[in-house]
């Protein structure tokens, strides 16, 4: 099967990449949103610590994170054993291991835009909603969510694009197993290593164009994106 000069294995890698990015974003929506909410509205002392931890992946070399994740995911650890018990597979070199790694790696890309979006609407909007009789969930879904829809869109697109473009951690944690953990970035690397530059061109050029279009759409629709490193 060849489409647009892409080999079968490249198409599989593309599908794995899209599946990984989408799964990661869904998980981030569930995990990252409450963290962003906490960081936006809490005045507790632990806030700075959590903020620093969330931002770490922005400044650390991917290999550092990859290294620790391999150790964490290994079958000798509790997490590794639990995963084997659950699925019969080991977490390292599995698709779910990759998802877990991507969640950690892309966390700041989900949390930060959303956090500033929450901060923008402010505490008093929430208090006003409460005072009008809306409880916390009611307020979240009917006031915060619609008011922060641009923040959510920004978080989604940035996290999606960032997960798609990840290489170092994915290689270390996933190992680049065909059909399972081999994503586009690794395919490109493989093509280059085998000196098949034509194939590498198709993939690399494709990634370039797609990433550019994604970011262009984002900036056209929203001029207040903020990814900050504190």
């Amino acid at each position: 099967m060849e489409i647009l000069n892409l080999s079968h294995s490249d198409i599989i890698a593309l599908l794995v990449t899209l599946k990984l990015a989408l799964t990661t974003c869904i998980c981030l929506a569930i995990i990252g949103t409450p963290i962003a909410y906490f960081l936006a509205f809490s005045s507790s002392k632990g806030k700075s610590i959590i903020e620093s931890i969330v931002t770490l992946p922005l400044v650390l070399p991917p290999t550092v994170i990859g290294f620790y994740l391999i150790i964490f995911f290994s079958p000798d650890t509790k997490l590794g054993q639990f995963f084997i018990l659950l699925t019969g597979e080991q977490l390292v070199f599995s698709f779910y291991g990759l998802v877990l790694a991507s969640i950690i790696y892309s966390l700041p890309f989900w949390v930060q835009p959303l956090q500033s979006s929450f901060e923008n609407i402010g505490k008093q909007t929430i208090q006003t909603s409460n005072s009008l009789g809306a409880g916390p969930f009611d307020t979240f879904f009917n006031v915060i969510l619609p008011l922060c829809r641009r923040g959510f869109l920004t978080s989604f697109i940035l996290s999606f694009a960032h997960t798609m473009g990840e290489f170092g951690i994915v290689l270390m944690v996933g190992g680049g197993i065909h059909g399972k953990t081999k994503v586009i970035a690794i395919s490109i690397y493989d093509h280059v290593e085998q000196l098949s530059f034509a194939k590498a061109h198709y993939l690399a050029g494709g990634m370039l164009v797609i990433s550019f279009i994604i970011l262009l759409c984002l900036y056209l629709s929203n001029k207040n994106i903020s990814v900050r490193v504190k």
């Binding site: 208090q127 006003t128 909603s129 409460n130 005072s131 009008l132 809306a134 009611d138 008011l147």
Partner: protein, 373 residues
């Protein structure tokens, strides 16, 4: 009778809050204090937006901060902040419906307020389909007020709602609030640091400073009290005179008030014949003399007696407390404060109990000085 008992104690940043008061008025109570005196914190505490403080809020016998704290969204209290906080993703009409859909189960003694009536009385008909971003400040405020009222609260908390409004709008809204309060018997706690607003809207005043309760009582009593004068500072010091409209001069647009038998001519038409009107006179706008001088000095000549003289040691000024002659009841004159230079005071050789003549120029009384009843 609605009752609201409030007690708050604790540290907020480096600010020590220690406030206790039983709000008994069914009318409009103004919470007054200088900037940073803790007014907004008290409002937030009543609304249920504070933790970590020692709070006791008892509304109509129900302890809202008891063992089972009643969360803000279950309290029958409508809070409106200085910023109208309209939800920008909803139209004006949808903003109003947000409140209507979430009305709390309500005490039987209150009548439900109808959306259509409120839209009419606050002139919102033409705004309904618009989004908040296309509204002016005054329009936003009216929508927010309607929305808060439509949540059918038993108590209304308004935190400096009119600070960004121009005078014309203010007068209109104040009239609305007073009528609303009278009609629906929903007490209003109104925070402001504008003296103009106070004298127009307040039935009662609670004074606070540095997080502490200072004094409370009926408006005219508090406005003439030392506590209040101390808080507002000497330059803005003033007194409130009460009287009824005895004459209206349409040609010159002047209204004569009968202040316990003495006439006070004021500009404009603060009320129709026999209406009761309060007017605020700034201490520095008063001219006093021990002898009667010609009447061209000012439109108004009142007679009174010096009750007290306070000489300020560090400034050029002195303050006189004057009791106005009451032609009906000699022992119950209204109090007026005057601020003059100590130089002038000595030149005139004034002392306690001395009869004096008080000149007040009508031009120094502006529209904001009136309070209608």
């Amino acid at each position: 009778m609605t009752s609201l008992f409030v007690k708050i104690k604790g540290q907020l940043g480096n600010f020590n809050l220690n406030f206790e008061h039983d709000f008994k008025s069914e009318g409009i109570t103004v919470l007054y204090g200088p900037n940073g005196s803790g007014k907004s914190s008290i409002i937030s505490a009543i609304g249920g937006f504070f933790r970590n403080l020692e709070i006791s809020i008892i509304l109509n016998g129900q302890d809202l901060e008891g063992k089972q704290k009643i969360p803000s969204y279950k309290r029958a209290i409508g809070t409106m902040f200085q910023d109208p906080q309209l939800f920008e993703h909803l139209t004006v009409s949808q903003n109003l419906d947000f409140a209507v859909k979430r009305v709390k189960p309500r005490n039987k003694k209150y009548i439900n307020i109808e959306k259509t009536d409120l839209i009419k009385s606050l002139d919102l008909e033409t705004l309904l389909k618009r989004f908040p971003t296309n509204l002016s400040g005054g329009e936003k405020l009216r929508v927010a007020l309607a929305r808060t009222i439509l949540s059918q609260p038993d108590y209304l908390l308004l935190d400096e709602p009119m600070s960004d409004l121009d005078i014309r709008y203010k007068a209109k809204l104040i009239r609305f609030l007073k009528a609303f309060n009278k009609q629906n018997k929903i007490p209003i706690l109104y925070v402001t640091h504008s003296i103009e607003e106070i004298s127009q809207i307040a039935d009662e005043i609670v004074l606070i400073n540095k997080g502490r309760y200072i004094a409370s009582g009926f408006t005219s009593k508090i406005l003439n009290s030392y506590d209040f004068q101390n808080l507002v500072g000497k330059f803005e010091a003033s007194s409130v005179l009460e009287g009824f409209v005895s004459k209206i001069n349409k040609r010159f647009s002047l209204t004569t008030l009968n202040i316990d038998g003495q006439d006070l001519m004021v500009p404009g038409s603060p009320g129709s014949l026999n209406n009761f009107v309060r007017v605020r006179i700034r201490s520095r706008d008063i001219i006093i003399t021990p002898i009667k001088i010609n009447s061209y000095v000012a439109e108004n000549l009142l007679v009174g007696k010096i009750l007290e003289i306070e000489i300020e040691k560090k400034t050029a000024f002195s303050e006189l407390v004057i009791v106005l002659l009451n032609k009906k009841n000699e022992n119950k004159g209204q109090i007026l404060r005057a601020r003059i230079t100590t130089y002038n005071l000595e030149k005139m050789n004034l002392s306690d109990n001395k009869k004096i003549y008080i000149y007040i120029r009508s031009v120094s009384i502006d529209r904001q000085a009136y309070q209608h009843n």
